[in-house]
């Protein structure tokens, strides 16, 4: 019983992290940019939903999704496009700056104190599945994750835009010389990434029950870890990495003696270090970061 509960928890958390990791991994694959500001998209989604609280639910869903997409595209246009082709370290620092900017913009507008989040309160209810209490929210988020993941894979492998995405991810010049509109492809990647962030913001805000300007920091750092685990540049790796980290987080909670439980983060990052040192390409093989003499 407890085991089943643990598994459900792990899958739930894992699914969330998988989607975050996918959002980051998609952009990294296209632009070699690790988008630290992805967490702020999650935060923004939550705040927009909160702002639109009085409106009918469908409108809120559509409106907040649009808002997150617009925000993403604006950030891409203003901050990332001018830096295209720069050193990955410069891009990392830039995304850090964007994250800091957006967080404090939220502080400016909404204040630093948390506000309550009460959208779709029905999601917080639980139903009984064979003796195990399962919050609808968990089923909801798992369902969404599977749909998102599956849809992404199908799109990348079989659709025109998916192939173009993969082409741009590998070699921008060749893609351009074949007539591919690279700006459009990058925009599509950001839109997909934004949509993934929006799903996370819905689920995460509901789970937390509250919003704060810095709420996006922890998910993005964890997602970061997941991407490293799975191998930078591999989408499958990002998703699997997300699940792995979710599982690990829950596992560490269960396995670690009480005194050490607080150091969960330290263990997680020690693991990251170990992977970077021993198997930098992640647990899944990918060619993205090979250097050459």
């Amino acid at each position: 019983m407890i085991l089943l509960q643990t598994v459900m928890d792990a899958l739930n958390v894992g699914g969330l992290y998988a989607m975050m990791a996918l959002g980051i991994g998609l952009i990294f694959g296209i632009m070699r940019l690790i988008n630290f500001a992805h967490g702020e998209l999650v935060m923004a989604g939550g705040y927009v939903i909160w702002l639109m609280g009085a409106y009918p639910e469908m409108l809120v869903i559509v409106g907040s999704l649009m808002a997150v997409i617009v925000l993403t595209l604006s950030v891409e246009r203003a901050a990332f496009r001018p830096l295209r082709g720069s050193d990955p370290a410069v891009l990392l620092v830039a995304s850090f700056a964007v994250s800091y900017f957006l967080q404090n913009l939220a502080v400016l507008f909404f204040g630093a104190r948390p506000v309550a989040f009460t959208f779709l309160p029905d999601l917080a209810r639980s139903i009984d599945l064979g003796g195990v209490r399962v919050p609808i929210l968990q089923l909801f988020s798992m369902g969404l994750t599977v749909a998102a993941l599956g849809g992404l894979v199908l799109m990348l492998k079989f659709t025109e835009i998916g192939i173009q995405l993969r082409a741009v991810a590998e070699d921008v010049v060749t893609a351009r010389l074949s007539g591919i509109n690279v700006n459009r492809v990058i925009a599509v990647a950001f839109v997909i990434s934004a949509a993934l962030a929006w799903v996370v913001s819905l689920v995460y805000s509901a789970q937390l029950g509250q919003l704060s300007p810095s709420m996006g920091v922890r998910p993005v750092v964890i997602a970061f870890v997941a991407t490293i685990l799975g191998g930078l540049g591999s989408l499958t790796g990002a998703a699997l990495g997300g699940f792995a980290v979710g599982a690990l987080t829950v596992l560490l909670d269960v396995l670690l003696p009480t005194e050490l439980r607080v150091f969960r983060e330290a263990f997680l990052f020690a693991l990251v270090l170990a992977i970077l040192l021993l198997r930098p390409q992640g647990l899944i093989r990918v060619r993205a970061l090979q250097g050459r003499v």
Binding site: S86, A94, A97, F101, N104, F263, E265, F269, L289
Partner: protein, 352 residues
Amino acid sequence: MGLRFLRPYLLAIWPVVVLALVLAMVLLWFGEAPGGRQRIITAALVNLVAVTGIYIFIGNSGVTSFGHVGFMAVGAYSAAWLTIPPAMKASLLPGLPAWLVATELAPGLAVPLAGLAAAAVALIFGLPLMRLSGITASIGTFAMLSILHSVFANWTPVTGGQGSLYGMPRYTDMQVATLWALVAMVVAALYQASPAGIRLRASREDMVAARAAGVNVPRERLIAFVLSAFFVGVAGALFAYLSMVVVANQFYLQLTFLTIAMLVIGGMRSLTGAFVGVAFVSILAEILRQTERGVDIGIISFSGRPGLQEVGLATAMLLALIFRPQGLTGGREIRLPQLRMPKRKSRKERTP
């Protein structure tokens, strides 16, 4: 022969001489200023020590390290452990080993020891980390920061955990901070002119060619890493003696961003850049802070809001990255005024 040997070092010190003069002027100007003003200047000077330390590594190796603030934490906590009265330590930090509880040193001695502690931590982490390259190295340093933060924020019996650690004397004033800033800059200048510094810089320019020419890249990086950690640790200690309180959460993402921003805006590749970056950002922050409190310019009144300072800083950083990625100094140092020196003739020209 002796002079020939010294020449590159003398050349390297020149920017520091100029900057020292600037610092001297600052000291004189603000020597009589009210306490609050002095505190701000001192804080900026402590930042200068930290950023110079960070520069020693990032500027010479080309590896962007996100972890150095972790060394500040090590320095700050070491400073705390070495100077808080034993009675307080015994009750606040039951987890500390007995010899540490009993120790109470003068802050002047504790500061360099704190630096050494940070250097030791750097050595431990650095041995594996310096083998990584490019972005994986940066990610590795971030992981180090997170580990250190997690330990300091949660090991309550030893560090006070999430709470604040009190009990340190007010030791850091403008003079002390200036002194350490000068020491840091001189060491930075001498290091980058030394063969070790040159070898490391070569690896920054082209790692493959450097290895092929005989540069032991991990070892050179480790040297810079440890040296830089020393000064960053010193900065942490100075910081602790300035604010007289140590809180684990101070030494995480916010401060990392601030220090990196200073270096990027000033120019990552030169010592002058570190100085200019600290100066620029400190002044900018101060202006924005005034705005936060509300400022009257004639009949127009700006009332500030919390968060504005940070937004302004982030904007400045982004603008710098987009329009002047090499920073305000363009990565150059202050040069000696050009003296007309007779051109050395090549051998072909010399022999008839």
